[in-house]
C-alpha cells in the first residue's frame, strides 16, 4: 500500500499564503481517508519538510504560487510535478520564500535516498500577502477546486476516500475574528494525545506517535 502525505504549506497570517492550510481544513472537514493517507497542515516547515517526506511514497502539497511569476489570475490552479519544481535546479537557494523548503527539501531527501517517488504540487496563484488571516475572493473560490484536484490525484492513485455524512461546517480557527478561546476548548476535550482528524479543534492525528522511525 502506498503511503500518501497530503500537506498544506503556507502562513495562515499572510493573506493568500494561507490557502494551503485552508485547503487542508476543507479536506478534513468534508472527507474521510484510508489509513495510508496522512493529512497535515504544515504551516511554513522550512527544512523540516524533509522529516515529513521520508514517510511518504507520494507527497501532495498545496501551496500558494506567486502572482507575478507567470502572469496568471489570482485563484488559477497549476499542477507541478517533481521535475517542474526542480527545473531551476537546487536554487542557490531561495527560489521560494518558504525556503529552504520545497526544492531544497526534495534534494536533501533525494540525497538521503528517502524522497517520495511521486510529488505533486497544487499551486494556487495568490493575489495579496499582507499581514491578514483572510484569503482574497479569487483565491477563496479556488479552495473547493483545489480539494477536487487533490481528490483527483487520489483517484488516479487508486486510493479511496468518502464524503462525511456530517461535514464540519466551522471555519478554520485563524479566520474567526472572535471565537471562544480555542485553547480552552482544546482543554475541555482533554484529548491527551489523541487528536481526531474529524474535529477542527483537534486537527491532525498524532502523526508522529503513530509512525515510529525504524
Amino acid at each position: 500500500m502506498k503511503r500518501i502525505t497530503i500537506g498544506g504549506v503556507g502562513s495562515v497570517l499572510l493573506g493568500d499564503d494561507g490557502v494551503g492550510p485552508t485547503v487542508i481544513h476543507a479536506l478534513e472537514a468534508n472527507y474521510s481517508f484510508e489509513d495510508c493517507v496522512t493529512v497535515l497542515d504544515l504551516g511554513t516547515p522550512g527544512l523540516d519538510l524533509v522529516a515529513y517526506m521520508s514517510d511518504a511514497d507520494v507527497l501532495i502539497l498545496i501551496d500558494s504560487v506567486a502572482s507575478s511569476s507567470e502572469g496568471k489570475l489570482p485563484g488559477t490552479i497549476t499542477l507541478y510535478r517533481r521535475e517542474d519544481i526542480l527545473r531551476h535546479g537546487p536554487a542557490p537557494v531561495r527560489m521560494d520564500p518558504h525556503s529552504p523548503a520545497l526544492s531544497e527539501s526534495i534534494l536533501i531527501a533525494d540525497f538521503a535516498c528517502d524522497s517520495p517517488k511521486e510529488i505533486l504540487l497544487v499551486g494556487i496563484t495568490g493575489e495579496q500577502y499582507e499581514m491578514d488571516s483572510q484569503l482574497s475572493p479569487g483565491v477563496r473560490q479556488a479552495v473547493d477546486r483545489s480539494v477536487q484536484e487533490v481528490l483527483g490525484e487520489l483517484d488516479r492513485l487508486g486510493v479511496s476516500y468518502s464524503r462525511k455524512v456530517q461535514p464540519d461546517t466551522s471555519t478554520a480557527w485563524w479566520e474567526r475574528a472572535t471565537a471562544p478561546a480555542r485553547s480552552e476548548r482544546l482543554l475541555r476535550y482533554a484529548p491527551g494525545l489523541v487528536i481526531a482528524p474529524c474535529d477542527a479543534d483537534k486537527t491532525n492525528a498524532a502523526y508522529f506517535a503513530n509512525t515510529p522511525v525504524e
Binding site: I85, P90, P92, R94, F111, L187, G192, A206, V213
Partner: protein, 566 residues
Amino acid sequence: MAKRITIDPITRIEGHLRIDVEVDNNAVSNAWASCTMWRGIEKILRGRDPRDAWLFTQRFCGVCTTVHAMASVRSVEDALKLEVPLNAQYIRNLILIAHALHDHIVHFYQLSALDWVDVLQIPKADPAAASKLAESLSPWPRNSRNELKAAQDRVIAIASSSQLGIFANGYWGHPAMRLSPEVNLLAFSHYLQALEYQRKALQIVGILGSKTPHIQNLTVGGVANAIDLDSPSALGMDRLEMIRTLLEEVVQFVQQVYLVDVCAVAAMYPEWFKIGSGVRNYLAVPDLPLDSRGSAFDLPGGYIRNGELAGVRAFQTPSDAVFRQSVTEDVTHAYYQGDKPLQPWVGETDPAFTGWNGDQKYSWVKAPRFNGEPMQVGPLAQVLIGYAQGHELTRKYTDLAISKVAAIGGVRVTPDMLHSTLGRHAARAIRAGMLAELAQKHWQLLVDNIAKGDYTVHNQPVLPTHEVEGVGTHEAPRGTLSHWVVIKDEKIKNYQAVVPSTWNASPRDRSGAHGPYEASLLHTPLARPEEPLEVLRTVHSFDPCMACACHAFDPSGRQIARVKIL
C-alpha cells in the same frame, strides 16, 4: 578604494537576509545587515483573546513555531500571575529541549557544515583511514568503513552525473577550505545521519505536542496532555517509554557525533577562533523551570558587558526587573515610523519603507537594545554567562569541548577565544551536550512526579478586566526570545515580540552602534572577495532565522542568490 559587495539573499538560512560589506585590501571594512521582509504580525493579535495568542504567534515562522508558542503562554501567565503545575513544566521543558536539539543538529549539518566541508574532496578520501580516524575520536558505532564507503559512493555517483543536486552551489575548491579528504568524508557521512536523528528529536516534540510543526498541547496555565498510565490514548508509560528510547538515540548522536565533529572542525580551522567576535555584550534568560512558580531553573541567565566574564550579572528569574526595564527598540535605521527608542509594552510597528539607504533606513529589523547597548544572544551568550557564573553543567561541557579541540589539533583554547565565529559553533554544540543530559533529567522528573500520583496538568486562568502586562521569555535555540503583552478587558491591547534574530541582525541604532552581525564581520579577511565564503561562515555561525514572514512558491525561479560587486 573600498569595493562594496552585496550578498542577497544569504543562502542556507531560514528567511531572507541581505548583507552588504565594504572590502578594502581583502578585508571587510564596513558592514550592513538588513532583513528584506516585513513582520508586523503583532498587529493581528490586538483585540484577540490572550488565551489564544500562542496559536497565532507560533505561526510567525515555520521553524521556530514551538518557541513562539511557549513565550506567548508564558507572557500571559506572567500577566495573570498564574502558576504552572509541575507536570506541565516538565512536559514543556521536554518539548523545548527536543526542539532545540533538532534545531542545533540541523543548523550545524544541513545549514552550516558545508561552509567548512568541501564535498568535492570526498571522492579522494580513503574510507578505511577515515574510519580509523573516527574511531580514535569517538565510540560512535556508525563510523565503520562500510558506512563511510556508502556515503562516499553517493557523492561519487552524484559528482559523476553532473547533477550536484543540493550541492550545486557551494564554494567548492575555495582556498579557505582546508579539511583533509577523510575529515570531509566523515563530516559528510554525519550530514546524512543527522537527517535521521533530527527527525527522532522532532518525533519527541510530536508525541508530546500532538503535532509538529505547530504543537497543539499548550494552554495558558499548563498543557492539555491528559496523563493516564493505563489509557492508550493519554500520556502513559507506553508513550513515555517511546520518548525515552528516542531521547537515548538523540543524546548519543549529540554527544558522540555532533560535539565531536564541531571540535574536529574547530581544531582544523583554529584561526577562526580569532575572527568574527564583534559585539561582546551578551544576554541570556534563565530557562527550564524546576518549580511551578518559575523561581528555579536548570539553565542560567544574565548579562555580560564588553566581554568581561568576571563582571557577569545574573537574572534570578526571567521576569527579573532589570530585564523588564532595560529592553527598548530603536527604529532610527529600520523601516518604521518613530523617533525614540520604545519599551516593548508601548512599542509600535508602523511601517515607513524608504528603500535601502546605508546612511539612513536599511532594514525591516528593529534595533533592540539593553540599557541602550546592542547585545549578542544565542548559545554563545548562554554558555559564556553560565561559565562566568560557575554553572556546573556549563563548565563540564565547555571544558570537555576545549580538551577535545586540544586533543585533536593540539590547539590550546581558552574561554576568551570563544568570542569568535568558531566560538559560536562550539557553544551551540556545548549547549546541545548540556541539553541532551537535561532531557534525560527532566524525563525522570516527569516520571517520578507522575509516580507520586500527581496528574495535574493545568491551572485555570482568570482574566481580569483591569489592565495588566506581562513578559514571557524563552532561551530559544537562537537566543533570548521575549513576548510582551498588555491585556485589558480580557483582550490583547498590545503585543510585541523581540526575537533572537532581531537582537543579532539588528541594524545600527541612533548612536551608530553596529548590530552583532555587522560588528562580527568587520576586519574579516577575504581570500577571494568575489566568493565571500568567509562572510557566510560568520553570518551562518549565528544561525540566522529571518523567516518571521514569507511569501509564496515562485516557480519561475527568480530570487536567486546574487553576489553583486560594486
